[in-house]
């Protein structure tokens, strides 16, 4: 089974600092989103079960070749990387076109996996957009995958319950973090990762003319939050404060 895992290069959110309400992204290392790692693990598990290949497809900025090493170490066989030169975040409609075109060029693909949302923007559009551009059926928020002949039976996790759905291959799935526990690659796997095949293209090489973004960002600032930040010394004091604030009734 030929499986594609789409992964998004994002800043390491734990290292983003805020200064004057503005996010400081300089020198913040780039990585992949956590849920993307669950999608990769799912692909590697299926490959281990039935054979085939796992290809990581990612669009990002310079340094993507480094970022992808962690995915190659964690079990992907090869990578297809699309480098975009703009400093701005790649808008969802463009990123979907890039990924869909790259997947088309890979030829026969049976399954395309995404995390249900990226770690940074979390708009959860790109998986669905790619499914439409490839004209494939899709199921989102998958927490369990069972493979049968030419078909998948997947369980999706929704706000109000679970839904078990059958879908024919090829298909696009987006997965939730409950699906699995991503493996931590061994040193040997990390060393081997550098030698795995990578195809690198620029966005222009892939699409010819890169489409214009359909979304404009007017501002992007940390919210102003005013909290009292009063330190209390003991549990008793805390309870008194809560009583004074009108909680805990008049007991």
């Amino acid at each position: 089974m030929n499986i594609v895992v789409a992964m998004k290069q994002i800043p390491d959110l734990q290292q983003v600092r805020i200064k004057n309400r503005k996010p400081i992204l300089d020198d913040v290392p780039l990585t992949f989103g956590n849920i993307d790692r669950n999608a990769l693990e799912a692909a590697v598990l299926i490959k281990e079960q039935v054979g085939g290949s796992v290809t990581v497809v990612a669009a990002g900025k310079e340094g993507l070749e480094d970022t992808v090493k962690e995915a190659l170490a964690a079990g992907a066989d090869q990578a297809y990387l699309i480098i975009c030169n703009e400093q701005e975040d790649i808008e969802s409609s463009i990123s979907a076109k890039l990924l869909a075109e790259a997947i088309k060029q890979l030829g026969s693909v049976d399954l395309v996996l995404f995390g249900e949302g990226s770690g940074d923007n979390y708009s959860s559009q790109v998986g669905s957009r790619v499914a439409e551009l490839l004209d494939l059926p899709q199921v989102g928020y998958v927490e369990r995958i069972e493979l049968t002949a030419g078909e998948l039976v997947v369980t999706r996790s929704l706000e109000d319950g679970k839904e078990v759905v059958q879908v024919a291959l090829p298909a696009v799935l987006t997965v939730v973090t409950d699906l699995n526990q991503p493996r931590i690659p061994s040193v040997t796997q990390i060393l081997k990762a550098g030698r795995k095949p990578k195809k690198v293209m620029s966005d222009q090489e892939l699409l010819g003319a890169v489409p214009t973004p359909k979304v404009k960002t007017l501002s992007n600032l940390a919210p102003e939050i005013k909290r009292k930040q009063i330190q209390v010394g003991t549990a008793v004091e805390l309870v008194e404060k809560l009583q004074a604030e009108g909680f805990l009734g008049r007991a």
């Binding site: 959110l13 734990q14 983003v16 996010p23 808008e91 969802s92 979907a96 940074d120 979390y122 708009s123 959860s124 559009q125 790109v126 998986g127 669905s128 957009r129 790619v130 499914a131 059926p137 899709q138 199921v139 989102g140 039976v153 999706r156 996790s157 929704l158 706000e159 319950g161 679970k162 839904e163 078990v164 759905v165 059958q166 987006t174 973090t177 973004p213 359909k214 979304v215 960002t217 007017l218 501002s219 992007n220 940390a222 939050i225 909290r227 009292k228 930040q229 009063i230 330190q231 209390v232 003991t234 549990a235 008793v236 004091e237 805390l238 309870v239 809560l242 604030e245 909680f247 805990l248």
Partner: protein, 314 residues
Amino acid sequence: MSNILVYTEKTELALELIEAARILCRAGLGDEIKWLSINNRAQAEESAQRGIDSWVVKAEGITIADTAALASIIAQASRVLECDTIVLSSDRRGKELAGRLAAKLDAGCLTDVKALESAGQDIGLVRNALGGATVAVQTITSPQKVIAFAPGAFPCTEEVPEKSGAVNELEITGVKASVKVIENRPKDAGTVDIAKARILVIVGQGIEDKEDLPLVQELAGKLGAEIGCSKPVATDKKWLPEERVVGLSGKTCQPELAVILGVSGQVQFTVGIRDAKLVVSVNKDENAYMNQMADYVLVSDLKEVLPELLQALG
């Protein structure tokens, strides 16, 4: 001229979307609101009571699980009904649908929109960005727009007795089912929605011992609170179910009081609780970022402080 099409399979959320769509109309994004209902005549009647015209599509063999088919139906309906802007709900089904529909219509799309604000000539769509560290104000620049609003972001629209909307039928053809639903397992009716809780006690990784959970439950009982948790407590430790996770990949909550026990306060968490009226942070690390986001801070070991709190509450 153009109109705004509203669709979600959940009637309660559709009523919120009407309020959002009214603001978009006033901002010049549409003349009229049109409500689309798929295989659900009862929903259309609800719309009529709010003075909104609705169109009911009968799509045989198509279920709400079928994102590809739903996107085809809505795209066709938007053309027939002359709607350039489509408004959806940003629950899981709605978000999944938003991307597919946007690609079909070559539309710009934003999901999880939590507010609208005027931005000069444009209407700004407000949503969290950078994992919740920032709040972005964005506009969609393409003629076709798909906007998914966060559940609860707008109030439900009221019934208007003086004006009744028309209920129309709309025929859509050529849509094939792409998935088959084998089983539905709804959550128990008793399942709590922490997003609606008035008081929350939130368990973080600072609670190191699972044996302390009953004490947290006792505390929640005394406060009349529901219990929430940070993501690792549900996904790594599996102490509490995923539906109790507060934060970017869980619920966004606006309780009157949040008592936060042993959460360090990464933005992916705090984004889910920063709209709380009053925040208490109990943490043994005095430098925990959560403490800066709190009104009252108690620096103490939770193992010791939990029994003390219970005793102080009597």
